[in-house]
Symmetry: C2
Subunit: 683 residues, 2 copies
């Protein structure tokens, strides 16, 4: 229990930071933070008499949301509600009123007001979607004391900053079954996200059933695809949560899977197309000079677009390096004939044809920012993903797209698969200080977190999406002034564990992996390590895309570890403050962690070894050696030359990569080493 | 880590028991235990070169099973396999051969042989189903040392004792989504179960889409039902695992849901039929005297039976108390006209009509044992569920059904929702010492575990089904001589945690519930309690069926607790041995647990209280008081009068029910109290 004492103490130390933006953001664990919130002294007690009335035109969405609200409230509080469904009479304690049923699109009004008083709660909104958002806010307001659960008195007036708050899930690199999608839709709705971008095809698999071109699922999916019935089911499910679904069929590149089924559409007649098992950017590309290519796409889109009622349709368009185009003589000839100088020009030719095909189906074309070439019509929507790493200016193409007349959506900075800390994403400001006209600003629709799935399975994907995506959801919903990282992190802790109510597995599956690793031995020593280790960042885990295949094991130690490792975050904060002022409280906190790590190897070494665990042995052993020396040195204010040498040796080993993870406290262990050497060295 | 030392010590103490049935049953964690197993000195190393060849006619089942085998093997061992799919060439290291593709029915041959040598593994079977069973056995054989994983050299010759090894899941009381069914099918397959009995309708909901009678799902399901596409998907999924699917439409009783949609089929014109929210046996019953009832059932069965290729169709037929029949004058008149003396006779009249309707659809009628009346044709299959508790002889109607010429399946003794310890189910011997003719024995098809879902949600159902159902699977597969309970429990520990690989949530969801209960505080004190507390047994939790409704909260402490609570089981074994001989080792083990419990309240009391936790306060406090006094008394060989009084007072409190759980160590705490009083009292 000592840990708890330290954590209380640490909250005290850092607590002052929390009041920077709104005094109330440390009182309520709301995320995204609402536009306006006023507190009053009321308290609405949650007891068995809580009921809901829906006072407007029937909305399947609101009815479902109200039922789910009652279920979650009852499960969370343990209160046995008398009424499990919305009341038919209009005399309930929670009153919901909206003016109209929304069409889900980029003009949808999601605003709402929420009033909590002693005896009733009123939700009012322009559309039924606003009422859904309000119910999520209300659930987040749940508080308790010793004897009861209650909603604190507030008046909230809320509306989103951006209309497009999305999550993309790549189901091609690793297929994600229906339930993975559904639970993530629930989680999205809980933080008011409203766009699910479904990356359905890529080199590694074509994941949607086609009745027109059945070889797509038969030959290009390994049997892992969604039936059209499942697609429809998910689209309805999302609609009920107020979430739009944007499908992506990625062309003309990323086409290995399509071409393994229909090689005649390829740009290289001699190539042996097959489903790709590795990760990366590959050569197989549709041939944009053939009529059959457009016939195929038109038929396919004609079949698929009716499954997705949304106005937008994503055609990918990214990372086509045009190698097979350049190598193909008839394509070169075609380019010359059509005055297409570069492969970029040829791809624009292709995109413009697609734009027309989609328009016939009533769809607006959206694509990754490579499609933004000079000739591309401004009816296209530019999905801004490239940034400094890809040779573009910081912030990518978002602003220039808007200025050039395109609607645009930001994903640069929101690549959650890069395994970067939550503040990296949270501190992205999409517009910054750029001056925009009203029209230009309107074209910036919002943003999307992108979950590329090279290294995730259904077992681990939730821990890569959550909780960081909730912070992105706040960035896209809340005012630009809501920027206090420490306060966000405090609220995120609550929001994160509440996601468990929605079956999100990001917390529970760590121990599942560790139990599997140890063959059901005591996992406590591995838990201790997992709280300070993080998976390698920015694609360093899978160098050149050839360390892992689709079917490689993803139940390794790195898969049990997460970004923003719990103890590492706290320890690093403590040391960071200790660097400024070496108070006894901070010193005690550091000693607490060091003692914990110094004894951990004795625990670890009792495990019966196996090949999965033994790779962690040098990490565990040297962590204990280093922690032990640092602990004694800081405690006793001395360190011998021998100890220092042993410490530095251990630190050097700890700086290495261990089985695809990095020790997230290494910099501060190293700083403490220097600190001890400078201040405490005795001989 | 002291605990581990004790557990090793305890294994030593009890280990000798494990050799009662087969010396090898303590070497391999196989479940169900195979018919014959011979050990050799070979060792097949699991490295990246492991491959599979399927040398027989194409079987979707075997191909899927082989792919799943490779995935699980890779995840479990961390080995990066070069080949993720069965090889096209026949030169793989694992060779699978079968003679034919099976039709899944009660004549299906599931036997197989499995040979593991140093360099190859051979699986051979009569049917493709036998090969599926062999792959599960092989996976269970996985072992490891410090440096590698391997399969130990064995020759196994295996075949099941009973052809019907089922699990029934009730999806009416609480709906269970597709993924719950699928993961449980995977778990069933892993212990070679082969019948999924799907209890699709009951008073609390009609869970299958009907296009002929759409009001069934529209008015009688709360929107929670399977579409026909989902049913088909699950049936194919099960078939791929070698599992038959038997649907149950429960009639004429348990019909509240049906009658809420089609009240004109009811036996009481004045009754206000609605979906039932409570549990129990209710009056709404189909009217067996109306032509429209049979018209309805014939049309419904005509629509539904094609979804289920199996030969058998379950019509329920249980617990019809005939109250509405007796009260209805025109039904009485009908009985008199047709010379039907009792309501049982009337139900037989109904069943015989159903039997004919089903025969037209090519289906054989199956029903709960109430259908076994003198006039019932022997083409019906009797599902034996009632036993001593329901006024029948122990073992129920199984033997008498077989002797009367009926095929029959046993569920009496396999009611896993009664929350009884695993040995209760494991020690059921279906046939016992009864002498049966060959024909009679053949009619005893096997048995089914039954998971009634009054008190379970998708979050908790797995922890009620598993791991106990694996022991039932062994009872139904293995020889009747495989009866060593301690050895079964040892193997079950491994089998249980391996179910996590299949997404079974029985272990991981405990902490989810405890985190929710505490609002994300330190749950260690609650974990300690949950390891010695068990949910109330034999329906005591929901007295008269009116404490809980369908939508009551099921994320309470009782829902985090499981049968065969881990620490209680060990402690009770230790005390049971200590009663025979008070060795220092046993005494130390007892002291270890008592010390642990005595300090737990200090930990518990640091929690910020809320209404969900505070109900546990007297349990936690008195457990610590009692444990502390017992600990000191046993350690020091003395106890004062005051201490004894305080101890007895605490024990008296601990004997009470706490929020639907019971303290599973209470009898032994009480015994130790008496023991201390008798032996150590000092004044």
């Amino acid at each position: 229990m000592k840990k708890i004492i330290f954590l209380i103490l640490l909250t005290g130390l850092f607590g002052v930071l929390s009041f920077a933006q709104s005094p109330m953001s440390s009182t309520y664990d709301l995320m995204p933070w609402p536009k306006e919130i006023k507190k009053n002294s009321a308290k609405f007690i949650i007891n068995s008499d809580v009921t809901i009335s829906i006072n407007s035109e029937y909305s399947e969405r609101v009815r479902n949301a109200a039922i789910n609200f009652l279920r979650r409230l009852s499960q969370r509080t343990g209160v046995f509600l008398k009424e499990g469904f919305p009341k038919k009479n209009k005399d309930a304690t929670i009153q919901i009123t909206y003016e109209s049923i929304a069409k889900l699109d980029v003009n949808c009004d999601e605003s709402y007001t929420l009033e909590v008083s002693n005896s009733y709660i009123k939700i009012a909104s322009k559309t039924d979607i606003g009422s859904l958002r309000a119910l999520q806010t209300l659930l987040q307001l749940t508080k308790n004391n010793d004897t009861s659960y209650y909603f604190p008195g507030v008046i909230i007036n809320d509306t989103p900053r951006f209309i497009w708050r999305g999550l993309m899930i790549d189901v091609s690199r690793h297929f994600q079954p229906v339930e993975v999608i559904k639970r993530n839709l629930n989680a999205m709705a809980s933080v008011k996200m409203n766009v699910f971008h479904w990356h359905l095809t890529d080199d590694q698999g074509f994941r949607i059933e086609s009745k027109t071109y059945p070889k797509l699922q038969e030959l290009a999916s390994d049997g892992l695809y969604y039936t059209q019935a499942q697609i429809k089911d998910i689209v309805v499910y999302a609609d009920n949560l107020g979430i739009r679904v944007i499908p992506e069929i990625d062309v003309p590149g990323h086409a290995s899977a399509i071409l393994s089924a229909y090689p005649e559409l390829g740009s290289n007649a001699d190539y042996n197309y097959s489903i790709e098992r590795y990760s990366g950017v590959f050569d197989p590309t549709l041939n944009p000079t053939l009529d059959i290519t457009y016939e195929f796409l038109e038929n396919l889109f004609k079949e698929i677009t009716p499954l997705f009622p949304d106005d937008y349709f994503h055609i990918g368009g990214d990372e086509n390096e045009g190698k097979h185009w350049s190598e193909n003589k008839s394509i070169s000839k075609f380019k010359a004939e059509h005055n297409l100088k570069t492969n970029h020009d040829l791809q624009t030719y292709f995109n413009i044809k697609l734009e027309k095909i989609l328009k016939k189906q009533g769809k607006q074309l959206m694509g990754w920012d490579e499609i933004m070439t000079p000739d591309m019509p401004t009816t296209a929507v530019i999905h801004s993903w490239r940034g400094e790493n890809e040779g573009l200016p910081n912030g990518g193409s978002l602003i220039s797209a808007a200025k050039q007349g395109y609607q645009t959506v930001l994903s640069n900075g929101f690549y959650i698969d890069r395994m970067l800390p939550v503040e990296h994403h949270y501190t992205i400001e999409p517009i910054g200080n750029i001056e925009l006209t009203h029209e230009e600003r309107k074209r910036i629709l919002g943003g999307e977190a992108t979950m590329w799935s090279e290294l995730v399975t259904p077992q681990t994907i939730d821990s890569r999406i959550w909780p960081r995506t909730a912070a992105i959801a706040e960035r896209l919903w809340s005012s630009r002034t809501v920027t206090d990282v420490d306060n966000m992190k405090t609220r995120l802790k609550t929001i994160s564990f509440q996601l468990e109510e929605l079956d999100i597995t990001h917390i529970r599956n760590r121990d599942v992996i560790l139990r599997s690793m140890t063959n059901n031995q005591d996992i406590s020593s591995l838990i201790t390590l997992s709280k300070i280790c993080e998976p390698l960042k920015i694609y360093a885990r899978n160098k050149d895309g050839i360390e892992y295949k689709t079917y490689s094991p993803y139940a390794l130690f790195a898969d049990a570890c997460v970004v923003d490792a719990e103890d590492a975050s706290t320890f690093n904060s403590v040391v960071s403050n200790y660097k400024k002022e070496q108070t006894p409280a901070l010193s005690d906190a550091i000693l607490y962690y060091l003692r914990n790590w110094s004894t951990n190897y004795s625990n670890f070494s009792k495990l019966r070894m196996n090949p999965k665990i033994s790779t962690l042995q040098p990490l565990s052993q040297n962590l204990s050696i280093a922690s032990n020396i640092l602990h004694n040195s800081i405690k006793n204010h001395n360190i011998s030359s021998n100890e220092l040498e042993e410490l530095k040796h251990a630190i050097a080993i700890l700086k290495q990569e261990f089985v695809d993870i990095e020790l997230a406290i290494i910099n501060n262990l190293e700083w403490l080493t220097g600190h001890c050497e400078t201040n405490f060295k005795i001989n």
